[in-house]
């Protein structure tokens, strides 16, 4: 479990970017973290594995405090980070080399590094790209290389910062599909985005606004609250449709978030077949 208590943070000399944030990430959870641009999502993400230390408050990962320098190495291995721009995260000249970078930094013996390399490439389905140079890959493929590089560290948690940014439909589906699979395989996912439509399948949503957490709960509840104007974001189109119908007095379900679910509840309303 990752626990943040009363976390406050400001960049050197700047105004506070995080203000008294309380947040926990449970083991095995798929947590969605949403908020408008500049609200502090990336800054918060960097607190989850000690890349940034809070000015006030505490952050612990499985009981280890990020304030304790001797725990940092362990924390970095527990909490993997997939940053927004894969080009700023990939250091290898080839895919293989990049994926091996983390395990080599852990000082693992070559045989173990090779094993993790193979497994991670398989896990995200990019074994065929192993000899390629990163700059010859598509945006989606680059993102998967970054994911494989993180997986090779065998993390318990992975934080994805805007994993679908700048990707086309196919690339987005590819990356989100891999994230879902990793979650099913038992990895805890923190998925950061400004687009709530990517988070309908999350176990829990956290909405941030100007450095504070303003809403959290299961997606249908959070979407409902957002419909009431309680947050800085608009819910995804499907939620807006269902809540709109409900507001107009139609007895539709508002806890379904997929096209098929919406079709059924609206179909029932229309009298079925």
């Amino acid at each position: 479990m990752i626990v943040l208590e009363g976390v406050t943070f400001s960049y050197d000399g700047g105004p506070p970017v995080l203000k008294d944030v309380d947040l926990s990430v449970g083991e095995g959870e798929y947590l969605g973290l949403a908020g408008p641009n500049g609200c502090g999502k990336t800054t918060l993400a960097m607190h989850l594995n000690g890349l940034l230390r809070p000015r006030a408050g505490t952050v612990t990962v499985d009981g280890l405090s990020v304030a304790d320098p001797s725990s940092l190495r362990k924390i970095r291995a527990l909490v993997g980070m997939v940053f927004q721009d894969p080009d700023s995260q990939i250091v290898g000249m080839t895919v293989e080399e990049d994926v091996a970078f983390g395990p080599l930094n852990l000082g693992l013996p070559p045989r173990e590094v090779r094993r993790r390399l193979e497994e991670s490439l398989e896990q995200v389905g990019i074994a065929h790209l192993r000899r390629r140079s990163p700059h010859t890959l598509s945006g989606g493929e680059k993102r998967l290389v970054a994911v494989a590089g993180v997986l090779a560290m065998r993390p318990r948690y992975i934080v994805f910062d805007e994993p679908a940014a700048f990707l086309d439909q196919a690339g987005r589906a590819l990356v989100l599909g891999v994230m879902n699979r990793l979650h099913r395989e038992g990895i805890t996912i923190v998925h950061i985005t400004h687009d709530l439509a990517d988070l309908v399948a999350a176990d829990r949503l956290v909405v941030m606004e100007a450095g504070t957490v303003t809403l959290q709960g299961p997606p249908p509840e959070v979407f409902g609250a957002l419909m009431e104007g309680e947050g800085p974001l608009a819910p995804p189109p499907l939620a807006r449709l269902l809540w709109g119908l409900k507001r107009d007095g139609f007895p539709v379900r508002t806890d379904v978030l997929t096209v098929d679910g919406a079709r059924l509840t609206i179909g029932a309303l229309l009298g079925g077949r």
Binding site: Q89, M93, T94, G102, G107
Partner: protein, 258 residues
């Protein structure tokens, strides 16, 4: 097509060798090329031709990689043929032509050694190998590990920077910047490209520093995929190269071979 300095992934004997061994062998062979005389160059050339298969390269490829550098060989040749010992020659002498041929051959031999080395060793391994060869310098406080990591990362970012440069240039061109005109104007345009490029590179360097920290860099000396030990093929190869060099140089200096 193989270009000079390019790495080409293949499964060959040379590809499988430790980068340090290949760097050391290249150094030895360069010494042979520079000090081994005609017989040394001949031995090198024959050895090179015989090792093509062992490097997974074809004769045509190596020639192709040498081609853009042939002009310089020709230049070396003419300089020696026509300007012997600094003075222009009225008529071309046999000695001048021979000196020109010798220098051009030396140069091409060095180029070929370079092609064999870079074609069979990924740049990152080259850098890592050099880093490990220089490791003893760490005793005097030289951060060899960090430096070789920096060099390796810079290599990775060259294509990225080139891509950014192309994008910026295209964006400028789309907004009507044209490169016709005086030196001052072109200089202005170039500065307008370089500054955003540099700013982008600095931002990227910041992001990268955070990203490598997140991936555990810097807590301890990283291990290496190649393992610390050199295998017996590595040792045998180095022994073969060293004996070739020894024989050629001894023969050159002890016998009246040219």
């Amino acid at each position: 097509m193989l270009r000079f300095g390019d790495y080409t992934p293949r499964d060959s004997l040379l590809h499988g060798l430790d980068a340090r061994v290949k760097i050391a062998a290249s150094a030895i062979l360069s010494v042979v090329a520079l000090t081994g005389g005609w017989s040394g160059l001949a031995a090198l050339t024959i050895a090179g031709a015989l090792s093509l298969r062992g490097a997974g390269l074809s004769f045509k490829e190596v020639l192709g990689a040498m081609k853009p550098l042939l002009f310089f060989a020709f230049l070396l040749f003419t300089m020696h043929a026509f300007f012997h010992e600094g003075r222009p020659l009225i008529d071309v002498t046999g000695a001048g032509v021979l000196a020109g041929l010798y220098t051009a051959w030396q140069y091409l031999a060095l180029v070929a050694v370079g092609i064999f080395l870079t074609a069979t060793t990924p740049p990152s391994e080259l850098v890592a190998g050099l880093g490990r060869l220089l490791r003893p310098l760490e005793r005097w406080g030289v951060p060899v590990g960090d430096i070789s990591f920096m060099v390796a990362v810079s290599l990775r970012f060259i294509p990225l920077l080139l891509g950014e440069y192309e994008r910026l240039r295209a964006a400028r061109a789309a907004r009507g910047a044209d490169w016709e005109g005086g030196v001052a104007k072109r200089l202005g345009l170039a500065v307008g490209l370089v500054i955003p490029l540099l700013l982008g590179a600095f931002r990227r360097a910041d992001d990268l520093a955070v990203a490598v920290e997140a991936r555990g860099y810097g807590h301890r000396a990283p291990s290496s995929l190649r393992g610390g030990e050199m295998g017996s093929p590595d040792r045998r190869f180095l022994a073969a190269v060293a004996s070739l060099a020894l024989v050629v140089i001894v023969l050159h200096h002890a016998l009246p071979l040219p």
